[in-house]
């Protein structure tokens, strides 16, 4: 291997002097993403163009140095956490919206474009980019492609993969390839769909062609208040069963309400067992008809009270509670472990009961705020790391809950990805053969261990039993929500 100063010199020649970070004190800020995992990278390189990405990767490849792509670092499973031997490559300088094609309803963006910025940018054309992770003020489209991110409004309209049409990719060895594009269903394998959600282990996306949708004409938001979680869960099953697919269907439990209400003042009753947020959007006529329907169904669903936001201000207030939930947990416990399991919608209640009983038994707090409409749970285990053994206990409880999700016919992750966090849980869902098939894809993309290594797949021979080795113990500030 070349000595470091040589390497630094070559990298500087590619991206410019100020865009290679190599001093130990400067590197420190790049050691983690949204997860608790951390390791200081060997170098940080910030390219500005596809050509630079390609040259950086070729150089790294030739020198046998792993590269870890990074967006905004809001990922919750450790996908963008570097290794001490690796070059961390944030794509944050590449944040240009290259094209908005209003007639064909597509846009081409660089990976560093912040999710919400894209929708703001296209608003003037009456269009928006639908997938809206709760971190959308910070996370990037490239990171969304990495994780196949979801969001509250993905229930009716689909997640990232349903909105990405094409990619410009740089492979591990620096080769640039274009796949898919704004002409759909072109001959060949669906390489775009294969790369979305691959957590930066197949290729680095340097251009992303996305589909845009018209802004809804009308939006209507309801809040239904329930005495207990059971009734709230049955309401979700009932709404879906009645053939309604609202734009969003979100639930908060009592502990979450307790945490969030005192400082957000969304008007959630403190003694409620759960509240359900239901949002309808679309054409004026559709929203009008469906809101009558939903209003009636909620009234009959055993809700103690059903509120309907009459103004945009009232709507924002109802959402403020949902959006403020995450930041509010700091008020009731110093640490939390956020999970991301999915169960079939009819098993929601069972999964929640299991988690509640388990945490009660083990002396851990548990709050639930989640995307109820698609069965995507976010159990939040609350604890105090300073109490000996509690972290261990929380991690173990998290593993048990995920295991239960799988048993109930569900999966380990609905939107946050496997990363480092769930490596050891993969065998709960996949046989060695299942994983071997996935690794063949990695092989075909020419990643022989130099592009985001050690992520997603447990090493061969790793024990099938999960070890709570890591988890997303978060300390996110106010203003972000999950």
């Amino acid at each position: 291997m070349k000595n470091s100063s040589d390497l630094v010199k070559q990298l500087k020649a590619i991206v410019g002097d100020e865009y290679v970070v190599h001093l130990p004190e400067d590197l420190l800020v790049f050691e983690r993403d949204g997860s608790p995992e951390n390791e200081v990278p060997r170098l940080v390189v910030l390219p500005d163009t596809t050509a630079q990405v390609s040259q950086v990767m070729r150089l790294a490849y030739e020198n046998g140095i792993p590269v870890v792509p990074r967006g905004a670092g809001t990922g919750l499973s450790g996908g963008a956490v570097p290794q001490s031997v690796s070059i961390l490559m944030p794509l944050s300088r590449m944040r240009r919206v290259l094209d908005v094609d209003v007639t064909n309803r597509t846009a081409v963006v660089e990976p560093g474009v912040v999710n919400l910025d894209l929708s703001h940018y296209t608003e003037k054309y009456g269009l928006h980019y639908v997938p809206d992770p709760s971190s959308q003020k910070a996370c990037t489209i490239g990171g969304n492609v990495g994780e196949n991110a979801g969001g509250p409004h993905c229930l009716a309209y689909g997640v990232t993969t349903n909105h990405v049409l094409g990619l410009e990719l740089v492979l591990a060895d620096g080769t640039i390839v274009e796949v898919g594009g704004d002409v759909r269903d072109a001959p060949g394998y669906d390489l775009t769909g294969t790369v979305v959600g691959s957590e930066g282990t197949l290729a680095v996306a340097t251009k992303i062609t996305v589909r845009l949708m018209p802004l809804p004409e009308a939006v209507k938001t309801f809040l239904a208040v329930y005495d207990d979680m059971d009734t709230a869960c049955s309401a979700v099953t009932m709404l879906i069963g009645k053939g309604l697919v609202p734009a969003a269907l979100e639930m908060l439990d009592n502990l979450t309400i307790q945490a969030v209400e005192p400082y957000v003042h969304a008007g959630y009753p403190l003694d409620a067992g759960a509240v359900l947020l239901v949002e309808l959007d679309g054409m004026d006529e559709t929203v009008k008809v469906e809101s009558d329907l939903v209003g009636n169904l909620l009234a009959e669903s055993g809700a103690r009270e059903v509120r309907r936001a009459e103004t945009e201000e009232e709507r924002q207030l109802l959402w403020a509670g949902r959006k403020g939930a995450f930041g509010a947990f700091g008020r009731i416990a110093p640490n939390y472990y956020l999970l991301d399991g999915v169960v079939p919608r009819t098993r929601l209640l069972e999964a929640l009961r299991y988690a509640t009983d388990l945490c009660a038994e083990r002396g851990l707090g548990l709050a639930n705020v989640f995307h109820a409409g698609d069965g995507n749970l976010h159990p939040i285990i609350l604890f105090d790391e300073r109490q000996p053994g509690k972290l261990e206990l929380a991690m173990r409880a998290g593993g048990d809950i995920l295991k239960k999700c799988v048993e109930l016919g569900g999966v380990l992750s609905g939107e946050h990805g496997v990363g480092l966090e769930k490596l050891a849980y993969m065998p709960l869902m996949f046989t060695p053969e299942d994983m071997k098939a996935m690794l063949k894809v990695r092989e075909a993309f020419g990643n022989d261990g130099l592009l985001n290594p050690d992520k997603v797949f447990p090493k061969e021979g790793e024990v099938a039993e999960y070890i709570p080795q890591s988890a997303a113990v978060l300390n996110a500030g106010t203003g972000s929500y999950i």
């Binding site: 072109a186 669906d190 294969t194 959600g197 691959s198 054409m283 999966v411 946050h416 075909a444």
Partner: protein, 446 residues
Amino acid sequence: MQQPRTLPTLFQSSLPSHSVHSGEGLEPYRLDGLIPEVALSPKDEEQVASILSICHAEGLAVVPWGGGTRMGLGNAPARYDVALLLTGLNRVLEYQPEDLTTTVQAGLTLATLDAELRKEGQFLPLDPVGYDRTTLGGVQASAASGPLRHRYGTARDQTIGIRVVHADGTITKAGGKVVKNVTGYDMNKLYIGSLGTLGIIVEASLKVMPLPASEGALLAFFPSIETAGEAALGVMGTSLDTAFLSLVAGEAVHELPGGRSVDGAAALAVGAFGQAAPIARVLRDATAICNRNGAAEVATVSSNEVTNLRRVLAEAPRGGSTTLMARLGVRPESVAGLIQSMAELSNKYSFNFGAVAHISHGIVHSGWTGKEGLMEAQRQATFIEEARDVARAEGGYLVLESAPPGVRALVDSWGDARGGQALMSNLKQQFDPTGVLNPGRFVGGI
């Protein structure tokens, strides 16, 4: 005299004798002049697995068959020993209506699955040509779609999990049975549209949808393809919630309800699903847009006729005596221009031409028949190459979906892959290095 082959006997221990077909029974499985040695009809994935492990060990080439509705897609197989008939895998394995998901075996026909779902007031919004006979696995493998892709997307959007049998007989699963999942790679996407060249799809989990309360549609007839195209882009540019938006041209216009008497060059079909008020709004606004763009006639389709209209839109350019069929893709705004060029080119060749385009996705299904005696193979092949050049000039592609064997021998089904051919070859190499599965039939000789 050739040595009598004993290929069928290889499978005697893994399949009951009534599942092993040879001799006379093989004629229906002829492809591009090739006839397999044996046809096998397994009943479950274990049987599929043992068949493939034998084929793998013996170096035999396997061509999977679903309903046989789109076997014209893809090039002639490089080798063809075994026809693998998958219609025996036809059970619904799990169906929980309140989850809006189902898990079924891949040989189930769409029509049968739909009948099951309708009992619960639900449906699968996949409506490709050949709906009555086509199997789910066949639709997935060929990524076939119909008019409803406009609103609901395609198999890639409906499929949440898949089980495949690999070239060596290994069975693996991808995805899951829930509607949201990012655990591991999204292998569903890889298998969908891979024409059985990476693995045999034996089972799939799907998202299903509630049946709409009602369906409405209008049919507008236009004096030119251009004006119909303008109207279509006009509708697409609004926030109207349309279920389908299909541009119909040439001979296909006459297949439409009420289209026989019309001598317009093109028509636009606009559909809406849901409650009465939103449907009325869509039809009202769309009518205004059509009129503004010079529609000769705008007719409302009565609600019980909409299903029929949707079938016609799925089948029209490819029905009856069609000799050549192709799927073309361009950007939405280039659709009308492409169809116009196709019409002119067809005219030059004296071919009858019809097209149905799902314009918001830029997909143009086209069909051609010959006017007396002008359909020699070479001429058809030259025509296809010219048509492909026209599509390319618009930034698009042409995939030949059906043609007489003589024509197929002269022209590649796919044209070139637009990007990533090397990656595709690598994938094939990883998944099927010895070429057991549909060898030679896919893009770039895969």
